[in-house]
Symmetry: C2
Subunit: 337 residues, 2 copies
DNA sequence: TTGAAAGCGCTACCAA
DNA sequence: TTGGTAGCGCTTTCAA
């Protein structure tokens, strides 16, 4: 194993100079720095993680807590984990996984043992049990998602309410008086934090714009394609010609199929907006306007906030809502009365 | 922060006694042990991770490397990550995630910095670039999956070849002379290690039993339900009345739909076996015989092997193939000639 | 611009 | 059965 002493000896300097040359916390002359870097390279030196943790003030590890509820949508979840890991690594941090029961217990454990510098919270529930833990541990904690009670917490998320309002606005602007909202699974409106937020925003704006909003929870189209199909048929029978879809990939597929079967052309006879989808809506058989949910944005911001909190422990806790963006590809057309 | 000194003072013993009481590496009298445990509890003591790493010989962390290729099936992948995390935690280890580009680079980094005690390898490719890295790093590495070149490696996996043979055997035993194998995506037969292994086993046994095996790669039914449908129709037209499905959930759904549309009853007019599925096949609309892929089994074994390697660094590297198990629910019926 | 040295909080060896 | 203590390999303060 290569230690800092061997690097120092090879470069003909003291170990403190090596340490400073690598951390950049003290100016080191160009010449010595070069010699040190050469030695580091030649010896394949990598600072010992344990020693660094003990002596320094940083572990260079973030914990990522993910309870993985039964209704967790695997592809979306994976996108968030990946985005977090990439963002963290870019700042020099590794990700330690706290899954399942460890999602809560582990927070106390890793905080008490100084294993991590900060904790990132995924899969946030409305009444998340990690909220009180976050308040009690000394370790900076960032929520990616909004629990109901967020007093004193730092949270990051897409502004789902604004996304809901934006979608309704666009359709109302186009003259639609009735809008169908094809939503997430029933259970996710109770167990997750974001479906209800989007719904609330849409309902608010529907009231404000005096349009009718017909909401129906969907399932996954795979396990229950017929339910999605039924929802869509019902909406069409009601006279709805404007759809907001806040659901997974396959629900979009079914909706578009049913519309096609009815001879309705999207962006012509019927309007469709996909709200807060994290998959690539460009891959759908018909182009659909979208208000994308971009995991990278939330996760990078979360990591930035964690780092900021480390540099300045007094940084105030706040809620960071990312404003939704509307991407038009022509799937919304004027209402035909 | 609570240190071992405070615990020692509270319990009226020396720090070494506290250390030994907690690690169990030296006998400690019942009385003292109790007092120490009380103190630990009262103070909420948790050993400092950095100090433990530096002083001890263990970091109590395993790295989990997952490249996440585009064709990775998210739900299956998550099941493996979860199973690994749970198994590791049960033995007192946390999981450090090495994703994306870090899947390879990170191995060298965490090994050189002594951040982890062992490395677990997921999403193994036939020509996996982590194979040479595993050979060169000093850190024990366990592959969950089989690369083509496994000389000197420790690997764990379901015996997919045996699973393929077993499925063919059962259908051949029932008198079927033609079998359709509805497989994974085209790309996964090149990029992943297991689809080809199951296929090879099935082909071998088909040759041995002198039955015809019609293999077709499938896609995901969501993105290409019509392709799955077409495969099935073709197979039926060919006269195939026996199906082996080695594919994701939704492909099963489509197959069963098409069979139903043709008025063919599973376990009666037509035989179906689901091979190496990691989802719950009991949730399918029709009960189907299955040779399950159980992530828990592979992952627990992998973790056990890692721990064993730590205790005995000279433990020999070997390939551990988990024998497939056949679960019959009556979806295979005698061929009707 | 550089060096010397004091810990960081444990584990594990040596004594008792 | 227990205690004392020498490191583990760094970071960072103090001095030069």
């Amino acid at each position: 194993m290569t230690t800092i002493h061997e690097v120092a000896r090879a470069a003909g300097v003291s170990i403190s100079t090596v340490s400073y040359a690598l951390s950049g916390k003290r100016p080191v002359s160009e010449k010595t720095r070069m010699r040190i870097e050469d030695a580091v390279h030649a010896l394949g030196y990598e600072p010992d993680a344990g020693a660094r943790m003990l002596a320094g003030r940083r572990t260079h590890i973030f914990a990522l807590t993910e309870p993985l509820r039964a209704d967790t949508h695997a592809p979306t979840h994976m996108a968030f984990v990946l985005a977090t890991a990439v963002a963290a690594r870019r700042q020099g941090f590794d990700i330690l996984l706290l899954t399942d029961e460890q999602a809560s217990e582990g927070m106390n454990r890793v905080a008490a043992s100084n294993l991590v510098d900060a904790i990132l919270v995924l899969d946030v529930a409305p009444d998340d049990e990690r909220v009180p833990i976050a308040r009690s541990v000394g370790t900076p904690t960032i929520f990616i998602g909004l629990p109901d009670d967020r007093e004193g917490l730092t949270c990051v998320d897409l502004d789902f309410e604004a996304a809901g309002r934006l979608a309704v606005d666009r359709l109302a602007d186009a003259g639609h008086r009735r809008i169908a909202l094809l939503g997430q699974t029933e259970v996710s409106y109770r167990k997750s934090n974001f479906p209800r937020r989007l719904l609330r925003g849409a309902q608010e704006q529907a009231a404000a714009r005096d349009v009718t909003l017909d909401w129906s929870a969907s399932g996954s189209a795979v396990t229950d394609a017929s339910a999605v199909r039924a929802c869509t048929e019902t909406a069409l029978a009601r006279g709805d010609r404007a759809f907001i879809v806040h659901a997974v990939d396959d629900v979009h597929q079914v909706l578009l199929s049913v519309l096609a079967e009815h001879g309705l052309r999207v962006g012509d006879d019927v309007s469709v907006i996909s709200a807060a989808a994290s998959f690539d809506t460009a891959a759908l058989p018909v182009p659909v306007d979208t208000i994308p949910l971009v995991p990278q944005r939330s996760c990078e911001l979360a990591v930035d906030l964690a780092v900021r909190r480390l540099d300045d422990p007094l940084a105030p806790a706040e809620i960071h809502l990312i404003p939704p963006e509307y991407r038009s590809v022509g799937s919304v057309s004027p209402a035909q009365d």
